[in-house]
């Protein structure tokens, strides 16, 4: 089963080359001369990727060969963009990349039998909810731009929502694996709409309530939407009832509308989304600058290192939170519509590989877990890209693997580790009994 790992190795080479070329382009722009620094950075990056690859070769020989190179590609791209904004930030990000890989390895090391997670599902759910609420706890909570997303304990600051999304997906996958049958069988048709049985619907209402609670409590429409959408995706896959999704969506929008009209911060976000020109220098500034930056990018972009981020002569910033919220706008500005399509395509490929793992997995929990992790990852990308392109209101969710931020990088590497664990088992089981390596290995 080395063919999968060989493909992974081959795929990593262009990623390292891309990183080297990206750094070279930024250097060339900033210093007008090319040192060997970009080569050194490229070599470091490649060495770290090779080490991870060798670890995967030993521990998970059958795991999906494309996920890690795709993620490495996003990380490399993010590193170059962040370096272009501020080299200090890029150094932090590189450290978190390494830390993320360490947690990635630890997850693979200790969760080989990931069914163990099912046994602790209520504990995990509790921890997940606690993490979500942590930013509102006095002493450690932090408010950023009106939303409560950060936690600071001593020198350690992180965004707990990034980790809690994994915990909640694990809980939902386990819960739905157990209850999917009764949810399907007990469903009744009322006025032509299939409703889930009331008894088992309780926990679903709890999830809805939690989402609404989050909206009020941490005031972040983006993460609330992300959690609830992941929940609906899992509910749909588990039960096959599209009507559940419709009911769920209706409930979410009614709740969100009610909250949007009553909670000022959420209300403002929605108003700005509908018409950012009303307060262009104030609350509409970020989304307008995001769109103006994209307009400036055009088809091919202005090139690495060419974007205007600061107003000359200390006039302030032209791209508020360029390294986190607006990094996609910066990407459109520098590499244009074509580059942005490339980035979206990478996310789509990751989603495709993730769902492929879910398809191959044989047991219900693995299927639902792989589906949930992939869904929450894809929806997170959609929420932030949709935010900066005005598809939905702009919120403070990170762009996975690209945005600056330790929590985001580390949590998403844990998510990747879980996906690869499921993949390794699924592909081993799919091929071993038949003994036909190649035929299934390529599927």
């Amino acid at each position: 089963m080395t063919s999968a790992r060989n493909r992974e190795l081959v795929a990593l080479v262009p990623v390292a080359l891309l990183l080297t070329a990206g750094f070279a382009a930024v250097f060339a722009q900033e210093e007008a001369q090319l040192g060997d620094a970009s080569l050194i950075y490229g070599a470091y990056f490649f060495a770290i990727c090779i080490a991870t690859h060798i670890y995967l070769r030993i521990r998970l020989p059958n795991a999906d060969p494309y996920l890690f190179p795709l993620v490495a590609l996003l990380t490399a791209f993010g590193l170059v963009m962040i370096y272009r904004i501020d080299d200090g930030l890029a150094r932090d990000q590189a450290n978190w990349f390494v830390l993320g890989l360490i947690l990635f390895a630890l997850t693979i090391q200790f969760l080989r039998d990931y069914e163990v997670l099912e046994r602790y599902r209520y504990t995990i759910a509790g921890v997940g909810l606690l993490l979500l609420l942590a930013p509102r706890l006095p002493g450690i909570g932090q408010q950023v731009n009106g939303a409560y997303l950060g936690v600071k304990i001593g020198p350690l600051a992180f965004q707990p929502a990034e980790f809690s999304k994994i915990a909640i997906v694990i809980f939902l996958a386990s819960y739905l694996r157990e209850n999917r049958e009764v949810l399907i069988v007990g469903a009744r048709r009322v006025l032509g709409v299939t409703l889930p049985p009331l008894k088992h619907f309780g926990p679903m209402l709890v999830v809805w309530g939690a989402s609404m609670f989050m909206l009020v409590f941490i005031r972040d429409l983006g993460s609330s939407l992300m959690f609830f959408a992941a929940f609906l995706a899992l509910l749909y896959v588990a039960t096959g009832r599209f009507s559940f999704v419709v009911i769920g969506m209706a409930m979410f929008f009614v709740g969100a509308w009610f909250i949007a009209t009553t909670v000022p911060h959420v209300h403002d976000r929605v108003e700005i989304w509908l018409d950012p020109y009303v307060d262009a220098p104030g609350s509409g500034y970020q989304i307008l600058q995001s769109i103006f930056a994209q307009a400036d990018g055009g088809l091919f972009g202005k090139g690495f290192g060419q974007a205007l981020i600061e107003i000359p002569d200390g006039g302030g910033t032209l791209l508020p939170a360029a390294q986190t919220d607006l990094i996609y706008s910066l990407i459109v500005n520098e590499v244009g519509l074509f580059g942005a399509c490339g980035v979206v395509l990478i996310y789509l490929l990751i989603a495709a590989r993730g769902f492929k793992i879910a398809l191959l997995a044989s047991d219900g929990f693995s299927k639902l877990l792989a589906t949930g992790l992939t869904a929450v990852f894809s929806i997170q990308a959609f929420v932030i890209i949709g935010g900066v392109t005005r598809v939905i209101p702009l919120t403070g969710v990170t762009l996975p693997f690209i945005s600056y931020g330790g929590s985001s990088i580390v949590a998403n590497f844990v998510l990747l580790a879980l996906l690869l664990l499921i993949s390794d088992r699924a592909r081993r089981e799919a091929t071993a009994p038949a003994g036909r390596d190649l035929a299934f290995g390529r599927a």
């Binding site: 894809s378 949709g386 005005r390």
Partner: protein
């Protein structure tokens, strides 16, 4: 569950498709509109980083250039106008905060080096830094300086000189002038100055009663419509009634049995008022339309900075042949006629060019940063305003004006000059201080009459003198300067 997983993936594909759709909309389809939003500072900041092309006179004097400021890496450029107020009109100004005006605004894309979509894609691929192209104008530095100096001696007003066969604008001078270098500090003060209106480009924005210069248009309408021939005579007593109101000639002089040449030479009001009524509204307005009245002159200045000449209501509405107008007084340049000096220069230029009116243009050629001429003015026709015969007959009559009539001060030694004076009374005009004896003095004409090289309109506001006293000498000085240069 597999079927649902596939459907879920399909849904994610749709979601991501929406992202691509919105990104395309902002970055490509709506990009131009977004770049023009007032809230968008990016285009201005970027333009500041591009060395804007120079603007030069036809004889190579630098009118506008960009000079670098600040350290390398964060270098910006700022506009300088070495000749100060001389070319404030019609060149205008270009500054990041105050924006662009006049010629600088009209030719902005060329000056900042914005090429075709393909060209800019090539630039992006090759990484070429954008650089603006130079524009050489048709303006003659010597004639422009003489025009402005004469105006400053005579009073507020305007001079426009056009080469009749090409439409090249060789002089466009405006008094009161302003110094474009001072715009960043003084724009508010200049805007508030409603008495002198230094930011008004009088050649294209000054709306004045044309007085007797309009008789050239009336005469053209008479000849073109066949109402008269050069030999036709009209009895023109010292005073007649027009629309129930008496209208008189200067000194109440009678001109019985006068032909066109006699009538134009002596600027006989009652002769032209009768002709105007005989010609009728349709023919007169049709003739005006052919000379360019009623629409924005096709010059290379922003449309909102070039005013429409015609019979205008106070609210700016331009009247037509079906509106109630006193045709007899329109025929002698009174009524509610409001015209720009540019429009009257176009009338003179059309007559000078055998009736063919060329589009007036300030620019002559574009030179890219490598010194190549990338674009050249290709003179084009605006309209055939009159037949060549009519133009020749008008020329004969206009020569009489300068030789022995009301415009003798326009005469140039050794050169036949054709022209027409105008003195419109503007009593109580507030911008003149409300005096009762104030006139708008005019001279329009061209020279040499047999082979016209230059057509000029000169107009002076708020003067107690006549067209021949203040406007004709300006015509002569500017025409001499331009003919000397040939």
């Amino acid at each position: 569950m597999n079927r649902q997983i596939v459907k879920l993936f399909a849904f994610i594909v749709v979601l991501f498709g929406v992202l691509i759709g919105f990104t395309s909309y902002w970055s490509v389809f709506d990009a131009e509109a977004l770049k023009e939003k007032d809230q968008n500072a990016r285009p201005l900041i970027e333009q500041q980083q591009i060395p804007r092309g120079r603007i030069l006179t036809a004889d190579g004097v630098v009118i506008a250039k960009s000079i670098p400021q600040g350290p390398k890496g964060e270098r910006t450029y700022v506009r300088r106008y070495p000749e100060g107020p001389l070319y404030g009109h019609p060149i205008g100004y270009s500054f990041v905060q105050q924006g662009n005006s006049e010629f600088e605004q009209f030719h902005n894309d060329t000056l900042v080096g914005e090429e075709s979509e393909f060209g800019s894609i090539l630039d992006e691929i090759t990484g070429a830094t954008p650089e603006g192209s130079d524009i050489v104008t048709n303006i003659d530095s010597e004639a422009q300086a003489i025009a402005l100096a004469d105006l400053e001696a005579a009073g507020f007003g305007a001079v426009v000189a056009i080469e009749p066969k090409s439409g090249r604008v060789q002089v466009m001078a405006s008094n009161k002038p302003y110094d474009p270098n001072r715009i960043p500090e003084e724009i508010n003060r200049l805007n508030r100055n409603k008495l002198e209106t230094p930011l008004l480009n009088r050649p294209a924005q000054g709306l004045y009663p044309p007085g007797s210069t309009f008789k050239v248009v009336t005469a053209a309408a008479g000849l073109e419509s066949g109402t008269i021939t050069p030999d036709s005579t009209i009895d023109a007593p010292g005073t007649i009634e027009v629309e129930g109101v008496p209208l008189s000639n200067d000194f109440n002089e009678d001109f019985f049995g006068a032909d066109l040449e006699t009538a134009l030479t002596n600027s006989v009001n009652t002769w032209f008022a009768q002709l105007g009524e005989d010609v009728g509204a349709n023919a007169l307005f049709e003739q005006m339309r052919k000379f360019g009245f009623g629409s924005t002159p096709p010059i290379d200045l922003p449309d909102d900075q070039v005013y429409v000449s015609g019979v205008r209501e106070l609210d700016g509405q331009v009247l037509g042949p079906n509106d109630a107008v006193d045709l007899g007084r329109v025929a002698i340049g009174q009524e509610r006629l409001q015209v720009t000096p540019l429009q009257m220069a176009m009338v003179a230029a059309a007559v000078a060019n055998g009736g063919k009116l060329m589009k007036p243009q300030i620019w002559s050629r574009v030179i890219d940063p490598d010194g190549r001429v990338t674009e050249k003015l290709d003179p084009s026709e605006y309209s055939q305003a009159t037949s060549p015969e009519t133009a020749a007959e008008l020329t004969v009559a206009m020569e009489g004006v300068v030789r022995e009539g009301t415009g003798t001060n326009a005469a140039i030694e050794g050169v036949a000059v054709a022209g027409k004076t105008g003195t419109a009374e503007t009593p109580g005009n507030k911008s003149c201080g409300g005096g009762e004896d104030e006139n708008q003095a005019w001279f329009i004409g061209f020279a040499p009459a047999d082979d016209p090289q230059v057509a000029i309109a000169a107009s002076v506001e708020c003067t107690e003198q006549f067209g021949n006293d203040v406007a004709a000498p300006i015509f002569r000085d500017v025409a001499e300067a331009l003919l000397d240069g040939k």
